[in-house]
Amino acid sequence: MGGLSGLGAQIGKWVVAGAQAAADNLNAAKSGSTFSLIAEDTQWAPQKGVESFNKLSNVDHVNFILSGGSSVMEATAPLATQSKTVMFNTGAQSAKMAGISPFVFSVLQLSDFDTGVLARYAFKDLGYKKIATLYVNNDTGVPNQTSFSKAFEAAGGQIVAAEAFKPNETSYGVQLAKIRAAQPDAIYLVGTPAELPFAARQARQMAPNLPLLSFAGIESKEFLDAAGAAANGIIYTTTAYDPHSDAQNVKDFVAAYKAKNNGEVPTSPYAGYGYDAMMIAAAALKQTKKFPGVTGDNVFRDDGTVAKAVAIRKIDGDHFTTIAVIQP
């Protein structure tokens, strides 16, 4: 279940498409069980998340659930514990996801690890001493912003401005005005797909020489299309996922995804999380603790979080170049 309409609809779409690709591959492999996918729309709202969970577990009797959106996870984790249903977190990065339920497993790193990597890289390698943060005021933006700021200050840097915008915001003039006044060396930007491209464009317009740093949510073709030239040069951290990798599992994933999605390559790691979650569930039938996924090796800790490699990447024109890969 995921946000399939309203805010975050793009992310939900990616996850579902990735999971569907997994189901297709698993069924084609004829491993003995058939996998089918039932989708529910949570609209990224906790109440709807609960209703979707109830329907999936009590009516459809699903074996496991994929979900995302921190607030939805918060609301449904107690239900997962109560009904002993395994739930995979494919889209919530808030650090509060750690230990949220013995039945919940995150397939993506939580924001504290990869923002830390980026913050240290920004200070030490890029030499930025002062950074301004520009973030969406919801359960995606705030945790990322908070952990980045903490890590940056711990590394020795200074956060000179922290400007919030609301979801679906169209005009960032106020935030950018304050950021300009604070004279940072760079801007750290976090938002949902609805705002990211436009915040980036306006940042380039109003602060033409300021470098932009961002988070994993930016890595997708949709962002490149909407942001255009503004995307060039943005550095961000993400899961070490590469759709053009030669690894067999990645190739299988990409092939299955393209087959059902008009030849589109899965550029967003969220699609990969959807795929990995399904595959992990299938492999759980064989009981492994470490699972090599398309988004990297998955080693689960006791609190349900996953230790995964993080990549530092840069947007060069229309592709994503890897600068470094950091192991956990």
């Binding site: 309409s5 805010l7 609809a9 793009q10 779409k13 005021n137 922290a162 400007e163 919030a164 915008f165 609301k166 679906n168 169209t170 005009s171 960032y172 003039g173 106020v174 935030q175 005005a177 304050k178 300009r180 006044a181 797909p193 609805a194 491209p197 436009f198 464009r201 306006q202 317009q205 109003m206 033409p208 949709e222 299309d225 909407a226 942001a227 255009g228 030239a229």
Partner: protein
Amino acid sequence: MLFAQLLANGIFVGSVYALLGLSFATIFASTKIWHFAQGAVYTLGGYALLVGTGFLHLPFVLSIVIAMVVCAALGIASMQFLYAPLRRRGATSLVMVMASLGVMIISDNLLLLYFGPSGFSIDVAGPEPIIVGGVFLTGGQFLTPFVALVVVAIYIALLFKTTFGQHLRALIDNEELLLRNGIDTARVKLLAFASGSALLPIALALLVMSGAGISPNVGVSATLIGAMAMFLGGIDTIPGAALAGLLLGIVESLAAFLFATEWQTAVTYALALVFLMLRPTGLLGRSLPRASL
């Protein structure tokens, strides 16, 4: 320095709000209809701009003109196919609000299905950024207040000089008088919808020039701002909404001078509330309406 920058931003945003206010006020003042489907018209106008310049590569100004025609048509359609039939069936005003919200949900999701959830940008070659008195203005931000001023001036001139405009203003106060003089009020109302709606793509185009995106979500906030501007300006006057819209934009931006940006909306509304309590008729309004709905 920051103050001046924020003020400049406020004037930019406020100019757009002025147009939104004019649009909503034209329709509400003359027809007393809460046209929340305006959000759908605004969004569809945006996609018209997208198809025009983004996909068909027409010159931007041409796309705006086309979008204006599209929106005017949609405005008329709203009246003809949504509000008028509901009125005839004896619907209360609130039921019409409900219906217009339903229309907005339908429109947003149709766009979502057809164009996908991701927003689109349009690259518009605007003038270069300039620095005026230490304030950094992008080309779009610099141009917008002038464009808006011209549009508002023309609009108000039409409102006061043309026969249609006079009928529209008369409709605000006293519909019966017009009817008794043999004037087809239904037609005047349709024209009100058309002209109010035609302003919308101009507002959106100005925002797009400064980097805003086009996606299914843009309509809701535009309508709410238009409604706010109308109230603050006075619900029985149309030009008031333009002035109120401008002030609203300025206040909203300047609020960030004293408060952290996450409090922007709350502070702006709090100030608006205080203002309304001190001056319930709005900036230029004349009288309080009756309490019924």
